[in-house]
């Protein structure tokens, strides 16, 4: 099997740093660098750093585990509304399914997403976790 190096390399920056796009004309922000605004179709779109905090807009608890979870679950998938209103889908980590709530404040976490195989490339990227309480 061909390694996925080119695709992983292409996605790394947006996955590592949560980069997004902002339309210069209509102001709509969305996840990942884009060349066309999904809202108004303008090609005047710039790459921006998306906020690292937000709240859980909606969620589901996944009990049917994909192979890469290696038997660890159930796990939480959520739509996170970032501080600037941008919504994205992400896994919620460091939180038990019975504790997740709509409206819960969350922050960016850097985590393993998967790997090709024991011999292959490891993928990293963003997930979200409950905000760590500070003293």
């Amino acid at each position: 099997m061909m390694p996925k190096s080119p695709r992983i390399w292409q996605l790394a920056e947006r996955r590592y740093r949560l980069l997004g796009s902002k339309c210069v004309l209509c102001g709509k922000t969305s996840v990942g660098p884009r060349s066309i605004c999904p809202a108004c179709g303008s090609d005047k779109v710039e790459t921006v750093q998306l906020p690292s905090t937000g709240t859980i807009y909606s969620y589901t608890v996944v009990h049917s585990l994909p192979a890469e979870k290696n038997g660890y679950g159930p796990y939480i998938m959520a739509i996170v509304a970032l501080e600037d209103g941008t919504k994205l889908t992400a896994e919620i980590v460091d939180c038990d399914p019975e504790d997740v709530k709509i409206g819960m404040p969350v922050e960016l976490a850097f985590r393993l997403i998967g790997q090709e195989s024991e011999h292959g490339i490891i993928y990293y990227g963003y997930k979200f976790r409950p905000i760590i309480p500070r003293t």
Binding site: R17, N70, V93, L112, Y124
Partner: protein
């Protein structure tokens, strides 16, 4: 070995990260039928456990981001070198520092490398950043000390080997200093106390041999060597942060060096989170920085099996008061915890797999 003679080589940002999961040593002892009486000498109650989607890279990135939060005056584009010290890199060939660089948004004009010297790869990363900042080769360097410490199932190392780490933004005559380096002294010998052969998953060690001829000999030599160079005594230091392979060695080595227990306890993490290998003494340093006052002096002494020690004299600067609250403290991570049993611990670490 090196007395800097000025206050210009500085830490401008520091940050740590500890995973959420913990296992009590009773759970490990139960799994292997060990008596807790035989483990009391370790003085360890519980250890951190990496999550199922965490590794040395994710810990390094989280710590690096916290260090940069405490260095708001530093753009990631101004970082000229990123060095990561570890003995648990997920890739044998591909530096962790390359992934950290991308994750923090560093420039392509950056010097990247990983260091390995058992539990002192992190302090080697700090020394490289110090020397390159002092020489003017870089404006700022990012030194990372992090590990997901490996341990053979059933071995005594399981009661201490844990996961966590720290990072430091280091500069020279720049930024808003949190602390400055006064001097540095290193020792090294050929001492086979602990090792991991190529392509082998878990380290092996010489049992009690890891104590006197390894840990104590090197930590004491580096600490006394540095104090002699600086013409200082234990009374001149407010804190000592030695490497923490368990809960008893740091207290014992501090005592032998002439430090009271009250000077080692503020930076002692191993009884409640275990041994982060490369991240051990650097995270102890962060815990001290979380509470120290400007003007206080810290003696940091790492130990890496094989064996060697790096000692540093560090004086806390005014910037600590302005920057301490910009990122989670070590204590915040210590307080955030969820216990797992041995079966989940083993699964998270990949000691068992479907």
């Amino acid at each position: 070995m090196t007395v800097f003679g000025d206050k210009k080589t500085v830490i401008v940002g520091y940050g740590s990260y500890i995973p959420r999961y913990r296992i009590k040593i009773e759970s490990i002892a139960h799994a292997w039928g060990e008596s807790l009486d035989t483990l009391r000498g370790l003085r360890v109650q519980e250890i951190s456990v990496k999550g199922p989607d965490e590794d040395q890279v994710t810990i390094a990135v989280e710590a690096a981001r916290n260090a940069l939060r405490r260095a708001p005056e530093v753009s990631p584009k101004d970082i000229g070198a990123i060095y990561s010290g570890s003995e648990s890199k997920p890739y044998a060939v591909k530096p962790t520092s390359t992934i950290v660089a991308a994750a923090i948004g560093a420039s392509m004009s950056v010097r990247l490398a990983d260091y390995e010297f058992a539990c002192k790869g992190g302090t080697e990363a700090i020394i490289s950043c110090i020397s390159q900042a002092r020489s003017g080769m870089i404006k700022y360097g990012l030194a990372i000390a992090a590990d997901c410490s490996q341990s053979l199932p059933g071995d005594v190392l399981e009661y201490t080997a844990s996961a966590g780490g720290s990072a430091f933004v280091i500069g020279h005559d720049s930024g808003d200093p949190i602390a400055y380096f006064e001097g540095q002294y290193s020792v090294g010998t050929d001492t086979p106390d602990f090792w991991r052969r190529d392509l082998i998953k878990y380290p092996r060690h010489g049992g009690r041999f890891t104590g006197e001829p390894a840990y104590f000999r090197h930590v004491i030599a580096a600490a006394t060597g540095l104090m002699k160079e600086l013409d200082m005594k234990p009374e001149d230091f407010d804190y000592i942060v030695p490497h923490q392979p368990n809960g008893s060695f740091p207290i014992e080595v501090a005592k032998r060096l002439g430090f009271s227990e009250s000077k080692v306890l503020p930076g002692l993490l191993s009884p409640i989170v275990g041994n982060f290998y490369s991240g051990s003494s650097p995270t102890g340093l962060c815990k001290v920085l979380d509470q120290a006052k400007p003007g206080q002096r810290i003696l940091l002494v790492s130990f890496g099996s094989g064996a060697g020690s790096d000692a540093f004299s560090i004086v806390v600067a005014e910037g600590i008061e302005r920057k301490r609250g910009l990122a989670p403290k070590v204590e915040d991570y210590i307080n955030r915890k969820k216990y797992v049993d041995y079966s989940l611990y083993a699964k998270f670490w990949g000691k068992i797999a479907r």
